[in-house]
């Protein structure tokens, strides 16, 4: 069951990610990204991170991506045009990211030799109670700092998106 679920949702995530990069229209890209996020939230569940899985659904796919889709629809942004300026990134991008991937995989397999096998239900410390407890005791200061960050972001967004900007 674990293998089946992991394989299926990992494939969904990878196909969605490739589709995000390949699709020409922003709406298609956005929906591909939503599918990646939903697949990742299932993987979080398999890893026992129940709260994070739900937060992934609520915050990422339920709010952030809705905002993206809203902006794309609002701007009525069409398909991306072929760019005339082919930069250095076009030539070096693919080989370099492939190299990055190979290097990362190598480091992972070498350094994580004592890795556990993932079994659904083996780790139960990711429920809302445990996450909340850790968040409001050990990580209270970072939590408060992020709340200030969000306040600043709200103010910034309001100032930037005001109509009469000159």
């Amino acid at each position: 069951m674990d293998v089946l679920l992991f394989t299926f949702f990992a494939l969904v995530a990878i196909v969605g990610a490739v589709s995000l990069v390949v699709q020409k229209h922003p709406i298609s890209s956005a929906l591909s990204l939503v599918s990646v996020m939903v697949a990742l939230s299932v993987l979080f569940l398999l890893l026992g991170a129940e709260f994070i899985a739900a937060a992934q659904l609520v915050v990422y796919s339920g709010a952030i991506m809705v905002l993206f889709v809203f902006v794309i629809m609002l701007l009525n942004a069409g398909a991306e045009r072929e760019s005339r300026k082919a930069g250095l990134a076009q030539f070096l991008g693919l080989p370099l990211t492939a190299a990055l991937l190979v290097f990362a995989s190598y480091v992972i397999t070498q350094s994580m030799s004592n890795a556990k096998a993932v079994k659904f239900g083996a780790f139960t410390g990711g429920g809302p109670r445990e996450v909340g407890w850790t968040l409001f005791t050990q990580y209270l200061l970072p939590f408060e700092v992020t709340s200030i960050l969000i306040l600043v972001a709200i103010a910034g967004a309001v100032v930037l998106a005001r109509k009469e900007i000159d």
């Binding site: 709406i27 929906l31 939503v34 939903v38 129940e50 709260f51 899985a53 739900a54 937060a55 659904l57 609520v58 796919s61 339920g62 709010a63 809705v66 905002l67 889709v69 809203f70 629809m73 609002l74 009525n76 429920g127 809302p128 109670r129």
Partner: protein, 396 residues
């Protein structure tokens, strides 16, 4: 028994019941709305129009599935099913009764019993907006696009006060598991007032009102049905849809109403707990209520306003009387009574939704946004703050 087999069995029971409820909800809505407006409503197909949902289903199934030439085909096809899928999935975590033992199998009445139940419902209903937004965008029609845009803006705006309104009863019950939320509301203050969150459990009446207002907006119902405002936007996001795709949107909307009302029931109205304690006769109340309605129907059968009423009212009255007596049968009782209380509470809220539709006019779009951000959000925040303060004082 195997968990998978049991789940399949429960789904096999729940899915037809849900579909039937959806179909007859339309009939109920049309009837109630008609009586609010001093009309009769559907009355041609079957006695009192009772076969109208079946006629509607046949009509929608056999209608030509027309796809305009200028739409974005893939997303046009995807959108209604996306909306329906998320709406139906959200229902699966709602518990409709306690853990019961039937034929030696111990199981909970409800599909899934998970520790993040409420968050999952919030997430799934939040995802439902993709169906509407995509439908609006892919239809390639300015009215549809406006409907989709309005819907996504409205969803984001009203999800915030909704989450805040949900958070304050959560402070009191201390869990996100819907079953535990209901269990925390068991018992009675002074032996008579139920310990529901909205009453004796925490006096969360303001949270309840804010939640209900937001639920109207989240389910795109009047007075917040701006995404499909028919006299501004033709029909909003579903202008270009017909046949089964239109039906899918329709079913998704009603599914969302059922989810919203069920969440309100579990969170504020004590789920399946009876309104008066069993010691004072709470277990006989379902039967009494059914007998009352059966009596009203029998009265109309004896004094018919139309000749056909003599038969139809009598038969329906007998069915309701039988249902009422079923609540006292020893084996069925444990199963049926919680179901009755849950269904009647959720049903009353659904009736309230229809009632409001018949009463309140639609908001203007700027009023809608101003109401969300300038009134509802601060009110929900204040409510959460006061509740947190009270909980903190109580726990010390």
């Amino acid at each position: 028994m195997d968990f998978i087999l049991l789940s399949i069995l429960k789904t096999a029971i729940a899915a037809p019941v849900l579909l039937g409820t959806l179909a007859y909800l339309v009939w109920i809505e049309r009837k109630v709305l008609a009586h609010v407006q001093l009309r009769i409503g559907p009355s041609r197909v079957g006695p009192h129009g009772l076969l109208q949902p079946i006629a509607d289903a046949i009509k929608l199934l056999t209608k030509e599935d027309f796809i305009p030439s200028y739409v974005n085909k893939f997303y046009y096809w995807l959108a209604p099913w996306l909306a329906l899928m998320f709406a139906v999935t959200a229902i699966s975590v709602i518990p409709v009764g306690p853990v019961v033992e039937v034929f030696g199998i111990k199981t909970n009445m409800g599909q899934a019993d998970i520790s993040i139940g409420l968050l999952l419902i919030l997430g799934l209903t939040g995802m439902g907006v993709y169906g509407i937004a995509l439908a609006g965008w892919s239809s390639n029609n300015k009215y549809s696009l406006l409907g989709g845009l309005r819907s996504s803006a409205q969803m984001i705006a009203y999800e915030l006060p909704m989450a805040m309104a949900i958070a304050s009863p959560l402070l009191i019950v201390n869990t996100l598991n819907l079953r535990e939320i209901v269990n925390a509301q068991a018992g009675y203050t002074f032996g008579i007032v139920p310990n529901w969150n909205v009453l004796g459990g925490g006096l969360q009446i303001f949270s309840f009102i804010i939640y209900l207002i937001c639920a109207f907006a989240e389910t795109n119902r009047i007075p917040f049905d701006l995404p499909e405002a028919e006299n501004e936007l033709v029909s909003g996001y579903n202008t270009e849809y017909s046949s089964m795709k239109f039906a899918a949107f329709f079913m998704a909307e009603y599914c969302n109403i059922i989810t919203a009302c069920s969440v309100a029931t579990t969170l504020f109205l004590g789920g399946w707990h009876p309104i008066i304690p069993n010691e004072l006769g709470g277990q006989f109340l379902p039967t009494l209520i059914c007998m009352f309605f059966a009596g009203v129907l029998f009265y109309h059968a004896l004094n018919p306003s139309r000749p056909s009423d003599r038969l139809s009212m009598g038969v329906i009255g007998a069915v309701i009387l039988g249902l009422g007596l079923m609540f006292q049968v020893p084996v069925v009782k444990d199963l049926a009574q919680p179901l009755f209380w849950f269904a009647s509470k959720a049903g009353f809220l659904i009736f309230f939704f229809i009632w409001v539709r018949g009463t309140v006019p639609r908001f203007r779009y700027d009023q809608l946004m101003r109401f969300a951000w300038l009134f509802l959000f601060p009110a929900a925040l204040l409510n959460l703050l006061v509740t947190a303060f009270i909980v903190a004082v109580k726990s010390n």
